[in-house]
Structure formats: structure tokens, C-alpha cells
């Protein structure tokens, strides 16, 4: 045992040393042997995955034929099915019912007025019996009206109302299917991994090509993006059910279907509701991105403002999205935590549906009142508040007064931190990089992981995107380093101090509710475009898990171990450094892992501020509607995150096994 440890150390040190050596002298060595391919993978050896993919999808759309119908018919049918409920919801919240087409259309029935929507959310919040929440939700909806975001908000809300149930139902169904069949589980799990790691932009293109530009495409993209956690949650919940509970269902004489719908699914309900919350949050996260393929609503407003560099407008719409996100998040969370189980009393029909009856009466009376007073129909213009000018002025003020400070901060970090990392990643010859990666894979996960690392990194090389992948690594790496430097100490603080924990948790919860895109807005304001801006946005977005996992790790150490350490005479400092931190390490590693995952997904979005990494490649694929280019670059990003994920998880498990923690 000892011996292998020492030899491991020697291997580790020599590998590091060799890597540094190659980084400094790689070019010279390559020049000396006259083999430039060592440093730069030759272009004519790269395999045109992109072109093949594009050709395949084009064939699929134009020619694929399943005897009775074409692929095109299939996609159209699918789109039609999703479009119908969307039209209804959109009519209720935003458009009303129209007669006629286009400009000549006459509104026969008005959409719900702002007061009615406030009523609906008020009623929903009433079920949670949480006074604070009721106030929060009502204020949020009123906010949308007061700050003149109503029309766009309702379009966005409509798409959420459609995307979430479809995502949840499909998620539960796929979850059940993969629970029932081990083979299916084995097929679905890697697909889910890919769906969650391939950047969204990458599959926007094929969806765009298949379903065209418009809200339906946006809905489909949103559903694809938001569904995977629901599948996972369902599978997890079902697998975690006490086997005795299942047996007791069987012994009660359940058929398979009764067992699923009367026992397993109801028992998993609390966990499933957490999944629903995630689907809602992810759907909101897609709001801006989906507007690239025609979602409209708030997302489109943000995107358009960003393109016009209209900071004020962007912030206004961005905040509206945030407000909706926070309201829906808190609402769905408290539904998930609702203590439904207490002594049941027989309810009469009236008592059971009292709230809904009142709501319907309320909506009808508001509708009637709307005929007489426009106040009940539209929020009065003269009461609306426009803040875009204020934001504009604020940015101007900051840029005039703090430009030098911000600029020197940016340049310092760029020259002393980011550029060295960039040079390091771009300097290492690719064969060596792959070799070291494979060794690392071997160390943590033996043959399987080594093979995974090898195959995936070779794929990246052969696509000819190695250099861009290295830039992605450098941006991701620098962001994660800084996020960890900030996040881990914060997490430790939250782990040790109850009050800090409360404040930080609230803060981080809010950070995590924000759609990723929103982070770009203030950062662009302050630092304009470029790698640095991208990094700051990524850090902000990816900070949360570092804090959360660290706090959790420090907090959840067996109290008897702490007592034993105290009895042994530890000071608080010794307790932290000798006991708590080492034991929390596996958890901290998982936090860093999550940070990396979030960083990679954010990086693709930062392509909008002009990075030159894989994300940019994906984004170009989107703007040029080049399916292959986008998908292949997207796959490279996915592979990077899969490699990082597997290695870190294996490392964390290794540590946990060593300590015997579960």
C-alpha cells in the first residue's frame, strides 16, 4: 500500500514537470524534429464530421420517408400538437380571441386583464398559506404591469405554462419507462447526459431547420432543455422507494399498473415536485435563448436590446424575467414543501373548491367591470414607470467616474492571471495532453475512464477544433479557479455560522433563479466585450454550487466526530483545518464539479460577447443555420464536460470510500 502511494507521487511529480517542460519548450522541440503536427493538429487530417452531419440532417428533412409519411410530416404533426394548447393559453393571457386575420382582426373576447392574472396568482399562493409568499407573488405580478412589461410577460408566461406540463409529463413517462426496463435505462441515461451537457445553441439549429422559426420551435427547444432533470428525478424517486413498500403493494394484490399509479408515483410525489420546480426554472432559463429561434416575449426584448446596445431596455426586460423566475420558483418550491399530510377531515364540495369558485367569480366580475372602466382592462399608462433612462444614466455615471479603476482591474487580471493560463493550455502539444488526460483517467477510474478520456479527446482533435477547445478550457479553468477562491471560503463561513448560512443561502438561491443570460447584461455594461467580460459573467453564474456544496459538506459532518475532536483538545481553527475541511473535501469536489458544469454551459452563452472558443463555434453554427458545425462543436463542449464530470466524481468517490462516508 505504502509503496504504491510513493510511486504514485513520483509519477504525479514527473508528469507535472514534463508538462511544464513541454509547455515551455514544446515549440522548439517540434521545430527541432521538424514535426509541427505535434503542436498543431494538421488540418487535412481532420475528419469532416460537421459536413456529414449537415448532409444527414438535410437528407432527413428533405428525403427521409417512412413508407406512409415523410420525416417532414412527422415534425409537422408534432409541431401541430404542441401548437394547439399554446394557441389557447396565448389567447387567454395575451391575445384574446380574434376574428379575422392580421390587421383587420377584431377582438371578440379580451384576454385576461392584469387584475385577473394577479387574482390567479394570489389564489395559487393562498394554498401555501405563506403570508410572505403571497405578498411576494402579488407584488411580482403587479410589478410587470407597473413597469410596462405586461404584453411581453404574458407571452413568456404562456410559453412557460405550455412547456412545463409537457416537460413534466414526458419526463415522468420516460422516467417510468427507464425504471421498468433496465435496457431502456442504459439507453436513456447517456442520452440525458448528452442533453444536459450539449450546449443549447447546438440543438437550436436542427430544431430551427426542422420546425422553422417561431414560438413552436422555441417551445420544443425549451422542452428538450428542461425535461432531462424530470426524467432523472422520476427515476431516482422510483429507485429510492423502500422495497418493502413495493412488496406491500404487491401483496395487497396490485396489478402492475395499480402498483405504479396508486403506490409508487403517489409515494414519490414530494421528490417529483422538486423535479417540477427544476423544470420551471430551466424553462425560464431558456426564455432568452429560445427567443433566438422565435419565442418572442421578454426574451426577445432582452435580446433585441442587447443587439441595439440599449442597456436600459435590456435591464428592464431582464428584471421582468427575474421577477417572474423568483415568483414561480418560490411558488413551486413551497408547493413542493407543502405539509399536506395531517389528519384528514371530510370536506364538502364547497369547502374543497371554495378558492377556485371565488377566483372564477372574481375573474368574471373583473371582466364585466372592464366594459365600464378601462382600469380593469389595462393598467393605466399614466401610472406606468419607465426606468430605462435611469439605468442608462447609471451606466453612464459609472463609466465616467470609475472607468480607470475598472479598466486597470480588468487589465491586471488579464495579464497576470488569464493570459498565462491561456498560454499554458495553448502551449501544450496535443498528444501529450491526451496522454496525461488518459493517465489521469486511469488513476481515478481504471480502464473504463481512461478509454472515455482517450476516445473523447481524440474526437475533439480530429474535428480540428482542438485550439478552440483549449480556449474553452482556459476560460472555463480561470473562471472556475476564481469562483472556487471566492466560493469555497464563503461556503466554509456558511458552514460554520448559522446567520451567514441564512444570508448566503438566500443570496445564492436568488442567484440561481436568474436565467443565465441575465448575468451578461450588467457585465457588458461595465466591461464591454471580450474574454474578461465572459469570465466575470461565468464566475457570477457558476459561483453558487461552490458555496452550497462546501457549506453542506462542512455542516453535515457527524456530530460525534466533532465532539471527539473537541474532547481531544482541538481549537476551533484546528477543528476546521484538521477535521472539517478534510472530511468535507469529497463534497467540495462535487461542488467544484457543478461549478465546472455551470461554467461550461454559461461559456457558450458568452459567445455573444465575443469569445473565440467552442461556444463561438456553436453560436456561428446557429447564426448561419449550419447544423453540422453547431452540433459538432456542441458535442466537443459536451465531451469536455463529461470528461471533467467523470474524473471529479471518481475522485470524490475515491475519497469517500477511503473515509467510509456515504
Amino acid at each position: 500500500m505504502r509503496k504504491t502511494k510513493i510511486s504514485n507521487k513520483i509519477i504525479f511529480i514527473s508528469l507535472t514537470f514534463l508538462t511544464l517542460l513541454l509547455y515551455w519548450y514544446g515549440k522548439e522541440i517540434a521545430n527541432y524534429f521538424d514535426s509541427k503536427w505535434l503542436v498543431k493538429y494538421p488540418k487535412h487530417y481532420s475528419f469532416p464530421f460537421a459536413i456529414y452531419t449537415t448532409t444527414f440532417v438535410k437528407w432527413l428533412i428533405n428525403e427521409a420517408n417512412f413508407l406512409l409519411f415523410t420525416f417532414n410530416d412527422l415534425t409537422r404533426l408534432f409541431a401541430w400538437i404542441i401548437e394547439q394548447p399554446y394557441k389557447i393559453v396565448l389567447a387567454i393571457f395575451s391575445k384574446g380571441i380574434l376574428r379575422g386575420q392580421g390587421q383587420d382582426a377584431i377582438q371578440i373576447i379580451e384576454p385576461l386583464s392584469w387584475i385577473s392574472v394577479v387574482g390567479i396568482f394570489f389564489t395559487l399562493a393562498l394554498y401555501t398559506k405563506d403570508k410572505f409568499l403571497i405578498i411576494l407573488v402579488v407584488l411580482s405580478i403587479v410589478y410587470l404591469a407597473v413597469f410596462d412589461q405586461w404584453q411581453s410577460s404574458m407571452i413568456t408566461l404562456s410559453s412557460i405554462i405550455i412547456a412545463v406540463p409537457i416537460g413534466v409529463i414526458l419526463g415522468i413517462l420516460f422516467g417510468i419507462l427507464s425504471y421498468k426496463s433496465k435496457i431502456l435505462e442504459k439507453i436513456i441515461t447517456p442520452i440525458l447526459d448528452l442533453m444536459q451537457t450539449v450546449p443549447v445553441f447546438a440543438y437550436l439549429v436542427p430544431i430551427l431547420v426542422m420546425f422553422g422559426f417561431g414560438p413552436v420551435s422555441a417551445l420544443i427547444a425549451t422542452i428538450i432543455y428542461a425535461m432531462p432533470p424530470m426524467v432523472r428525478t422520476t427515476l431516482l424517486a422510483l429507485n429510492n422507494i423502500d422495497p418493502q413498500l413495493k412488496e406491500s403493494g404487491l401483496m395487497s394484490g396490485c396489478t402492475e399498473r395499480q402498483l405504479m399509479w396508486k403506490v409508487l408515483i403517489p409515494v414519490s410525489k414530494p421528490t417529483l415536485l422538486i423535479g417540477v420546480n427544476q423544470v420551471i426554472m430551466l424553462s425560464l432559463n431558456m426564455v432568452i435563448i429560445a427567443s433566438m429561434i422565435g419565442a418572442g416575449g421578454l426574451g426577445y426584448d432582452v435580446l433585441a436590446s442587447l443587439r441595439r446596445l440599449d442597456i436600459g431596455g435590456g435591464i428592464e426586460s431582464g428584471i421582468a424575467i427575474v421577477v417572474i423566475a423568483i415568483a414561480l420558483d418560490r411558488l413551486s418550491q413551497s408547493f413542493a414543501n407543502l405539509p399536506t399530510l395531517s389528519k384528514k377531515t371530510q370536506l364538502t364540495f364547497y369547502n374543497k373548491y371554495k378558492k377556485i369558485i371565488f377566483l372564477l367569480l372574481y375573474i368574471i366580475s373583473i371582466y364585466i367591470l372592464g366594459y365600464f372602466f378601462t382600469f380593469f382592462k389595462f393598467f393605466p399608462n399614466e401610472l406606468m414607470i419607465n426606468t430605462s433612462l435611469f439605468w442608462e444614466e447609471l451606466v453612464k455615471y459609472i463609466n465616467i467616474n470609475y472607468f480607470d479603476n475598472l479598466e486597470s482591474f480588468k487589465i491586471t487580471l488579464l495579464t497576470f492571471f488569464m493570459l498565462p493560463i491561456k498560454k499554458f493550455f495553448l502551449g501544450i502539444p496535443w498528444p501529450w495532453f491526451i496522454f496525461v488526460l488518459t493517465i489521469i483517467g486511469w488513476y481515478f477510474g481504471k480502464f473504463k475512464l481512461a478509454l472515455l478520456c482517450l476516445v473523447m479527446s481524440i474526437f475533439i482533435v480530429t474535428t480540428g477544433l482542438w485550439e478552440k477547445a483549449m480556449i474553452t478550457l482556459y476560460l472555463c479553468g480561470s473562471s472556475v479557479i476564481i469562483a472556487s477562491i471566492i466560493g469555497i471560503p464563503l461556503g466554509v463561513w456558511a458552514g460554520l455560522n448559522d446567520r451567514a448560512n441564512k444570508i448566503l443561502t438566500a443570496f445564492i438561491d436568488t442567484l440561481q433563479t436568474l436565467p443565465s443570460f441575465v448575468y451578461l447584461i450588467p457585465v457588458v455594461m461595465l466591461f464591454r466585450v471580450g474574454d474578461f467580460t465572459a469570465m466575470i459573467a461565468v464566475i457570477l453564474y457558476a459561483l453558487a454550487p461552490a458555496v452550497r456544496y462546501t457549506a453542506h459538506g462542512v455542516r453535515n459532518i457527524n456530530s460525534q466526530i466533532i465532539e471527539a475532536a473537541l474532547i481531544s483538545g482541538c481549537s476551533q481553527r484546528q477543528l476546521l483545518f484538521k477535521i472539517k475541511l478534510p472530511l468535507a473535501l469529497p463534497e467540495i469536489l462535487l461542488g467544484i464539479n457543478q461549478t465546472i458544469m455551470l461554467a461550461l454551459s454559461m461559456l457558450v452563452i458568452t459567445a455573444l460577447v465575443g469569445t473565440r472558443d467552442l461556444g463561438q463555434e456553436v453560436y456561428i453554427g446557429l447564426t448561419k443555420a449550419d447544423i453540422g458545425r453547431g452540433l459538432v462543436a456542441g458535442l466537443c463542449v459536451a465531451f469536455i464536460s463529461i470528461i471533467a464530470d467523470r474524473i471529479i466524481k471518481a475522485g470524490s468517490n475515491k475519497l469517500k470510500n477511503k473515509y467510509g462516508i456515504k
Partner: protein, 336 residues
């Protein structure tokens, strides 16, 4: 006791691993434990053969990992045995279709679980009525039956509580109630009282005996607690490492332990309280003694008599002399 078997297990094996059936076949259905383990299989049940008689309480006793839970799950076909046959009322359980199995579970079997396995989203009455609900019995009727059971298990007034609002003992009463809802003929209890506090456990054991006295079910009761086994059992099966070590009445186990493993369980028991006169008496029928004791009296209750008298005659309940007992035998038994 009516000695017709309700359930019969014949040479039941359960191995866990890859293709266990083929493995057993290639080893002539009798591989050594060593060979089983060397080939990467886990032996859960090894060649179990037994009969369960009508209206008896058969206790399966063994430490954790001895295969008792697996055996009982094979009997109810929650787990399919690797090889072997199980007959329930002369029906081969292995040949039942899915629907036939469901029918049997809906009408003839009930099971109580160690950790209660109550449905947390259903109230007490909904839990107890659940087996009736899945049969499609209408609400009024099933709730009426459930209320009778609630009375039987002593949960009056709690029918609209949710499981988490009940104590452990009360929760297991719900579990017992649910398993009785279909009026089963075969009643499985898988360590039903192991998760309870000692005092509650004792109370529940007594209650269980009371229920059995009025219902007269055929019972297969699993426990790892030998005292519990002795207290409840008509017959006991001792299992060790998947194998049935001994089947017999409590007295058999104490007087004639099959091996050291069984002996270890029985050693520290207060034997004079468990054994009857019959098990230690002398078969010579000496008619001379004026003092008599019944053969089925427990030894501790006749100790004084024998020690002071020196010798007594043993009679059965029809007052026929069946043997005798003297001071030496008794004092040897006590000091042993």
C-alpha cells in the same frame, strides 16, 4: 392440531448471480457452499424443504442474512426461487400466471412488514382498505370492512390519521390491519415487531396471540429474536446461511438441538419455564406414588412438589399414568 399441509416447499434454492439455474443444473443441484461462492454466486436459500400446517404458527428464526426473509418472499412469490417447487393448497405457485398470482394475493395471502411499509399518502383507513380498493370494491363497502378491522387492531378513532402521525406500535397495527383486510388464509409476518421498543413489542406479541386465537390463520412468522420465537411458535424453523438447520417444536429445539448453532440459542433460556414434565420424565410407569403431576405442566411449576416428595407419578389429562419423575432427574436438569 390438524396436520394437513397448507403450504409445501420442496427443495427450494435461491442463488443470486448470473444464470444461477444453469449453474445449479451443471452441479447436479447440489453444489458445495464453497463452490457456490468461488463461482461468484450468493447462496440465499439452500435446498429448503418444509411444510406449513393449517392453523399453526410457524416461526422462521435466524440471524440477519440467514435467508429467512428470502424464503418467505419465495413462498409469496415476491421473489422467484431459482429451483424448487412451492405448493399452496396443492397449487404449484411457480406455474401461476401473473393474473392468477394477483388473484391469490387478493384473497388468500396477507403480509406484514418489518418497517411497516405503510403508504404515507394514505390515511389509516385508506391504508387498511387499500387491498380491497385494488380489487375494485366500492368505497362504502370497503370502508365498512376496514372499520371492522380497525376495531380488531385497536385503532378506533384514528382512522383519519396519516401514518406519520402515529407511533411505531400504532403504525404496525395499521400494517397488521391492512394485511388482514382481505381475510387471508395464509398470513406472513416478516419481523413485524423488530422495529419496536421492547415494551411495545411485548404488548404487540400478546395482542397478536389474541388476534390469532380468534382468527385461526395459518401463520408464517419471521423473527431473529429467539425469545419471541419460543413465545409464539407452534413449530420453529432455524435457518443459518440459507440452510434449514432444524425444524421442531420449541421443546425439541431445547432438548435435542441439531447442532451447536441451535444449542447456542437455547443455552441461556430459562428452560424450566419452557419445558414440560413430559420432556424429562422417566417412562417407567410406577403406580406407587400418591402424588401426581400432569405431563404438560411446565417444570418450574412442579419443582417444589418433586423436590420435597422425592418422586411423583406423571399422568396425562385423562389421568392415565404415563411415567414418573424423581428428585435426582429434576435436580440434574436444573443444575445442567
Amino acid at each position: 392440531m390438524n396436520k394437513s399441509p397448507k403450504l409445501v416447499c420442496k427443495n427450494v434454492w435461491k442463488l443470486y448471480g448470473d444464470k444461477p439455474k444453469e449453474f445449479l443444473q451443471s452441479h447436479n443441484y447440489n453444489p458445495d457452499k464453497r463452490i457456490i461462492e468461488e463461482n461468484g454466486y450468493i447462496q440465499a436459500i439452500r435446498n429448503a424443504t418444509l411444510e406449513v400446517y393449517e392453523n399453526e404458527i410457524l416461526v422462521i428464526m435466524g440471524l440477519s442474512g440467514s435467508g429467512k426473509s428470502t424464503l418467505v418472499r419465495c413462498m409469496s412469490r415476491l421473489v422467484d426461487p431459482t429451483v424448487g417447487e412451492i405448493f399452496f393448497e396443492n397449487i404449484d405457485m411457480g406455474r401461476l400466471t401473473k393474473n392468477e398470482l394477483i388473484e391469490i394475493r387478493r384473497h388468500k395471502m396477507g403480509m406484514v412488514f418489518q418497517h411497516f411499509a405503510l403508504f404515507p399518502h394514505r390515511t389509516v383507513i385508506e391504508n387498511i382498505a387499500f387491498p380491497l380498493e385494488v380489487q375494485g370494491i366500492n368505497r362504502a363497502e370497503r370502508e365498512k370492512s376496514a372499520m371492522e378491522i380497525i376495531d380488531l387492531v385497536g385503532l378506533q378513532g384514528r382512522e383519519n390519521y396519516f401514518p406519520k402521525e402515529l407511533s411505531g406500535g400504532q403504525q404496525q397495527r395499521v400494517g397488521i390491519g391492512r394485511s388482514l383486510a382481505v381475510k387471508p388464509e395464509l398470513w406472513f409476518l416478516d419481523e413485524p415487531f423488530s422495529a419496536l421498543d421492547p415494551l411495545i413489542r411485548k404488548e404487540m406479541q400478546n395482542e397478536f396471540l389474541k388476534i390469532q386465537n380468534s382468527l385461526k390463520k395459518t401463520i408464517i412468522f419471521i423473527t431473529h429474536d429467539f425469545d419471541e420465537a419460543i413465545k409464539l411458535a407452534d413449530r420453529i424453523i432455524i435457518m443459518n446461511e440459507g440452510r434449514i438447520v432444524q425444524i421442531g417444536s420449541p421443546e425439541d429445539l431445547i432438548m435435542k438441538p441439531a447442532d451447536d448453532y441451535v444449542k447456542e440459542f437455547t443455552e441461556d433460556l430459562p428452560r424450566e419455564r419452557l419445558l414440560s414434565v413430559k420432556s424429562i420424565m422417566n417412562n417407567q410407569k410406577q403406580p406407587s406414588n400418591a402424588l401426581t403431576v400432569y405431563e404438560d405442566e411446565k417444570i418450574f411449576s412442579i419443582l417444589e412438589k418433586v423436590l420435597s416428595e422425592g418422586s411423583v407419578s406423571v399422568i396425562d389429562r385423562s389421568n392415565n399414568i404415563v411415567g414418573s419423575l424423581n428428585r435426582e432427574t429434576v435436580s440434574r436438569f436444573i443444575n445442567n
